[in-house]
Symmetry: D2
Subunit: 118 residues, 4 copies
């Protein structure tokens, strides 16, 4: 029997936040002109949640531009447009996690990049 430790908790919380962000906001109508305000609102929705030390949400401007419907001049937020860096602080452990589009796999990949014990 393995005890759940601080590190498990930090890493688990990181996963929760990325999964939540993704499925809350994918599908939102977006254009190059609303990228800044939408990414800011997304960051704020994360930073409110427990154990979040910092988060940055970047939305790929080129991809948005390319996907904008020529007739209606907007598109929808897709997972592959997102680049998110997240730090979770649980007690003395920091988990650094990322959501980034993996071109090779054609997949919005979430990963743990680093773990620090302070």
């Amino acid at each position: 029997m393995i005890e759940i430790n601080e590190r498990d908790r930090a890493v688990f919380e990181a996963g929760i936040k990325l999964g939540a962000l993704y499925h809350q906001f994918v599908g939102t109508p977006i254009s190059t002109e609303t990228i800044d305000d939408l990414s800011r609102a997304m960051e704020q929705s994360v930073i409110l949640q427990p154990y979040v030390r910092s988060v940055s949400v970047m939305i790929d401007r080129e991809m948005v531009e390319k996907r904008e419907n020529p007739e209606f001049r907007y598109c929808e937020l897709e997972g592959r447009m997102l680049h998110v860096n997240l730090q979770i602080l649980y007690k003395n452990t920091i988990a650094y996690a990322e959501l980034a589009y993996d071109e090779g796999l054609d997949y919005p990949m979430m990963s743990i990049k680093k773990i620090e014990e302070m």
Copy 2:
């Protein structure tokens, strides 16, 4: 057989926008401090869409305050917190629609308030 006219189109588009807004954003983590940025991002997601003449999204501050979890200091956006005014312009017809919490029915009610032909 009844022909679909401008007025039908304006009213239909109003319904689409309110239904979409509601189900895109309900569930988003929110606190009294993020109300302004979230409502702005919500407005922008609507204004991008076809035939929208104007939209205002208000989130009920008192309700958010009351719902904030005492331990974690945030809550989730609920339909009953929303007050939305929307104008759709389709050709020469303006449809004014609203989403507002109906206390009697305990229901976030969407309605057409007015139709104008210019």
Copy 3:
């Protein structure tokens, strides 16, 4: 000043339902094997709502197949995969609405197809 009538209400409710369905479910993980159960759950979420007379949700099997990630064997529900037929009955008026992918515009188009007064 124009009075809101039964027909306006029927058409408005049709818009609400399609907008809601779309933004509730787009982003859901899906594969060809889960199409049937997901479309059934989507239909049920619509049929519960006020004034819905009937609804059918079809998800384009070919598109799902094509979009399935080769490594992970699933994809996400996209608007363009959806074909929805909806009937709203408001008092004595039936509004027939549709969501269907418009290839020419590359857009998931919602439209009122027919209105009947009984």
Copy 4:
């Protein structure tokens, strides 16, 4: 510098799945009659994703009943209605995770219950 190991990956993936499930489906119209099909569709959306060994989604029937709007006879899926058990298998490590409503905190709590190395 700490190496990311199998256990971190298993636990992280568990977090992703719970966060995603929650924010994809909260807000869905539901009644006591659609609980079974909706929870089945939710399970299927999880089981498709990488490293999921098993998942069960239970929706609290009593809570749904209590929340059903008396006029319209349905409500919306809320986080507190959900009880989810999830197993992630990453290489030789199994992470057991749960989403369950914590009455004391009035919060839908996600947690790691157990970790096994095979």
